[in-house]
């Protein structure tokens, strides 16, 4: 900014000089023309021109256009002198402020644009993620459902097999118990019969019968020998 101002100072210097020349020249011209107008005399230098100029100015004045060239030149010179100052103290800071404002706005717009892009990207990512999550969740749910169905079938098959096995085992146990009880019953009957037989034989076994048994044993012993 300071560099810009110094360069503007350098570029304004010829204008100021020109302005000063014009200002002083205009004042001088105005004084000369005023004196000539009031005196109606011809100025010493350029007399013909001065007459013509006064006549022309008077004609313009008569037409309703009162122009004073000296004042006009002086005004232009003053404008040329004042213009750099106005430019330096007002236009340049204003331009800088506007530029800065524009820059800030542009930066803000860029930032907004960036944020908007980021938001768009995030939204897109979010939507993708949601879609992915939904797909994954759906896939997991489907897998869980399949697994649950498989487990259900497996459990049902296992339960059926166990049930069959239990029924079979129960039948076998019943048959076994039945056979066991029948066997025990037979053994008991046998035992009772033999005990009774032993008692009957013991009660009826007298010496003669015993001697007969001994004699038979001795005879059998001979046969076996």
């Amino acid at each position: 900014m300071a560099e810009q101002q110094s360069s503007s100072k350098g570029s304004a210097l010829p204008g100021i000089i020109i302005g000063a020349i014009l200002m002083f020249g205009g004042v001088y011209l105005d004084k000369v023309l005023h004196v000539a107008h009031e005196a109606g005399a011809t100025p010493h230098a350029g007399e013909h021109t001065g007459q013509w100029t006064v006549a022309f100015l008077n004609k313009l004045d008569d037409m309703g256009l009162p122009i004073n060239p000296g004042i006009t030149l002086a005004t232009i010179g003053v404008l040329l002198i004042v213009m750099p100052a106005v430019k330096y103290f007002y236009i340049t800071p204003l331009k800088n402020a506007i530029d800065e404002r524009n820059n800030n706005l542009e930066s803000t717009f860029n930032e907004v644009e960036t944020l908007r892009n980021e938001m768009t990207t995030m939204k897109s990512d979010y939507e993708k993620r949601i879609a992915s999550t939904e797909a994954e969740a759906r896939e997991k749910i489907n897998a869980q459902i399949k697994e649950a169905q498989a487990l259900r079938q497996s459990l049902m098959a296992e339960a059926a097999a166990k049930s069959d096995a239990l029924v079979k085992q129960a039948q076998e146990e019943i048959a076994s118990e039945k056979a066991k009880v029948l066997g025990e019953l037979r053994n008991h009957v046998t035992e009772l019969s033999l005990t009774a037989a032993e008692k009957v034989v013991g009660a009826n076994m007298d010496t003669a019968a015993n001697r007969k048994l001994i004699a038979d044993f001795i005879a059998d012993l001979e046969v076996k020998a």
């Binding site: 056979a179 066991k180 029948l182 066997g183 037979r186 053994n187 046998t190 035992e191 033999l194 037989a197 032993e198 034989v201 013991g202 076994m205 010496t207 019968a209 015993n210 001697r211 048994l213 001994i214 004699a215 038979d216 044993f217 001795i218 059998d220 012993l221 001979e222 076996k224 020998a225």
Partner: protein
């Protein structure tokens, strides 16, 4: 078990000495008599088996009671066993000696059980037939066992010839049990 081994060793030594002296029968009878005395006389058995009595005291009592009734070989054997503190083995040495004698002479020992007392004729027939069946001499030991109900049972070595009512019923019972098992 250790006592049996000791008794067998003493019996083996006594048997070999008796056989050399041709007095196996006499020594066997001495030892059987000694065993019968110890089994039948509780006071004598308690005295000889008592750990509180000295060896000399036991030997003196033996000499006084039985010393003159047995052969010198038997007397020396008993004294030796008393000196060696082998009183316990006196109860079984007779059986071991008898076993050695039977093995040496090829005699089989049979046990005949019957529900009633057998007559001498019956005993003789049984011994003769068993000897003929085995082809060896046999010595029988007879016993009355009323639980047999009737008939006779002969046992020798690891064999039994069972002609008793009890044995018949037992075989019948086993047969019926086998049938029951087969039906089950």
């Amino acid at each position: 078990m250790a006592g049996d081994r000791v008794a067998k060793r003493y019996a083996q030594a006594a048997f070999e000495a008796a056989k050399s002296a041709n007095s196996v029968e006499i020594v066997g009878a001495d030892l059987a008599g000694l065993q019968a005395a110890l089994t039948g006389n509780g006071d004598l058995r308690s005295f000889l088996l008592s750990p509180n009595r000295g060896r000399e005291e036991k030997i003196a009592l033996f000499e006084k009671a039985l010393g003159e009734k047995v052969t010198a070989l038997s007397s020396n054997l008993v004294k030796l066993m008393l000196e060696k503190r082998r009183e316990e083995e006196l109860l079984t040495i007779s059986d071991e000696f008898t076993t050695l004698r039977r093995a040496d002479e090829g005699i089989v020992h049979i046990t005949v059980s019957s529900a009633i007392e057998l007559t001498d004729s019956e005993k003789k027939q049984i011994v003769e037939k068993v000897s003929a069946k085995l082809g060896r001499k046999s010595e029988a030991e007879f016993a009355v066992d009323p639980t047999l109900v009737g008939g006779v049972k002969v046992a020798y070595d690891n064999f039994v010839i069972d002609g008793s009512v009890k044995g018949s019923l037992k075989r019948l019972r086993e047969s019926l049990r086998q049938d029951n098992l087969k039906q089950a």
